[in-house]
């Protein structure tokens, strides 16, 4: 049996660990997306909520693992999808339940705000050059494909299985060949614009250790978006190029690169936590609890909708990095561009 077929089981295990750690990755004053006293998570009530959540995550991960193992033994691709889908979505039910149990312990966030009037010194790493390179990369791929059009096979692969072998093909047409590059361009643009906006995201803590921790978290988020844009540019550019330089090893390299970059990014976020997550209650005691977003604007503790808040990006209360404010009309322009990659993956048949 190909050892790579066990990869989804490993991925589920890692996802399970991530879900298990998730409540510890938020700011001390946020617990399951509810604004609480920074010491609440250590109280008997907080510990009880966390225990129930952990038990549910354990059971759900065990179920997903069992399905993934069955998929490996039966070599069934559909079961892989079921296992990964279950592990990605089912824990949200455990989260929602924990969120509802925490709501009665919510505290009213301070109405007194402090903002730093110093000019923002952060900027996009690499400046305009870093912004332009992904597009130059995609343009170069388009030029290579144009000059080698005849070498592209009549049907070329666009999707590969976890074993590195192609499992979906499309016809050689300008729409199919350059369409990928266009999708890549749109996706890169969305990621780089997001990175530029995250640089200017709201500064919640303005001084001391909380301020430094938040700044470091923001920098990590910006680098993540920048690296993601490069990976997307490289992957979307290389995808049609694989058609003229066929070989499973190249596809494996591409899959490996994508997975490796994702793993590194997740590991860094877990190590760092959300802005100020790694600080003790004492270090944050001078800061008012919360993250300057009202609890009632978080739907199920996951989706932020606040038309009165001018911010487009806000720190996630449960998860890694930033999320968009769906109450801001610009989010409805940016979001489809961000989702273009996963949507394209689903639509390719």
């Amino acid at each position: 049996m190909n050892p790579i077929t066990w990869f989804p089981a490993l991925m589920i295990l890692l996802l399970g660990l991530l879900w298990y750690r998730m409540p510890q990755l938020t700011r001390p004053g946020i617990f399951f997306s509810v604004t609480v006293d920074p010491g609440f998570r250590e109280t008997p009530e907080g510990l009880a909520i966390r225990r129930t959540y952990n038990t549910r995550i354990g059971i759900q991960t065990a179920v997903a693992l069992a399905v993934a193992i069955a998929a490996a033994l039966l070599s069934n691709q559909a079961l892989y999808a079921v296992a990964i889908g279950w592990e990605s979505l089912a824990p949200l039910i455990a989260m929602k339940s924990a969120h509802e149990r925490t709501l009665p312990f919510a505290v009213v966030p301070s109405r007194v705000l402090e903002v730093d009037l110093s000019p923002h010194t952060e900027s996009l790493p690499g400046g305009m050059i870093a912004f332009v390179i992904p597009f130059a990369l995609l343009a170069a791929c388009a030029a290579i494909l144009h000059w080698n059009w005849d070498q592209i096979p009549q049907n070329f692969p666009v999707h590969w299985g976890i074993d590195g072998n192609p499992n979906r093909w499309v016809e050689r047409t300008p729409q199919n060949v350059y369409g990928f590059l266009a999708l890549g361009t749109l996706s890169c643009l969305a990621m780089l614009v997001s990175a530029a906006l995250v640089v200017r995201a709201r500064r919640i803590s303005v001084s001391g250790e909380p301020g430094r921790s938040e700044q470091s978290f923001r920098r990590l988020s910006v680098w993540t978006l920048l690296i993601s844009a490069y990976v997307v540019a490289f992957s979307f550019g290389a995808l049609p190029l694989l058609a003229i330089t066929p070989g499973a090893s190249a596809a494996r390299l591409l899959i490996g690169l994508t997975l490796l970059s994702m793993a590194v990014i997740v590991a860094l976020f877990v190590r760092h936590g959300q802005g100020g997550a790694r600080l003790s209650g004492a270090q944050t005691s001078s800061n008012p609890p919360g993250d300057r977003t009202p609890d009632n604007c978080w739907k199920w503790g996951l989706i932020y909708v606040n038309p009165d808040d001018p911010a487009l990006f806000v720190e996630k209360r449960f998860g890694l990095g930033y999320t968009v404010n769906f109450g801001n009309r610009w989010s409805w322009i940016l979001l489809p561009a961000i989702l273009v990659v996963p949507l394209a993956g689903m639509l390719i048949r």
Partner: protein
């Protein structure tokens, strides 16, 4: 240029509108010299995002300070703090308004339970600060 972090404190639950609180806090910092000419205040958009208030709230506060001659508003690049000299001749209307508002404030504070001795002490300390 100021080097220490310059913190603006706003009470969203306070009686005064947010734009007025921004104007008062900034004017206080400008008069006290905490913000020096040449300093660039954050752009309207940035300050509104940091505070979580509407852009117009911050824009209105900046407009008032610009009208008073404190700020030069620059599109997307923030507000430049200007060197502003006090008017050569004090405004008579402003002077009478000042006296009336001070009396009203003292009356309000006494009505809220503050002792006359406490109010007098605060006013004395403020006056001494002005004379230095």
């Amino acid at each position: 240029m100021t080097t220490a972090p310059l913190i603006l404190k706003i009470d969203l639950g306070g009686d005064a509108p947010v734009y007025r609180q921004i104007v008062d806090a900034l004017r206080h910092a400008l008069v006290a010299g905490d913000i020096q000419p040449g300093h660039i205040l954050p752009p309207v958009r940035q300050l509104a995002i940091d505070l979580g208030v509407h852009f117009n709230t911050v824009a209105e506060a900046y407009r008032i300070l610009a009208a008073e001659g404190w700020l030069d508003l620059r599109r997307r690049r923030g507000a430049l703090v200007l060197s502003r000299k006090a008017p050569a001749r004090p405004d008579v209307v402003a002077s009478s308004t000042f006296s009336r508002r001070l009396r009203e404030l003292v009356a309000e504070l006494r009505a809220s339970g503050l002792s006359p001795a406490h109010i007098a002490r605060e006013l004395r300390s403020l006056a001494e600060g002005l004379e230095k």
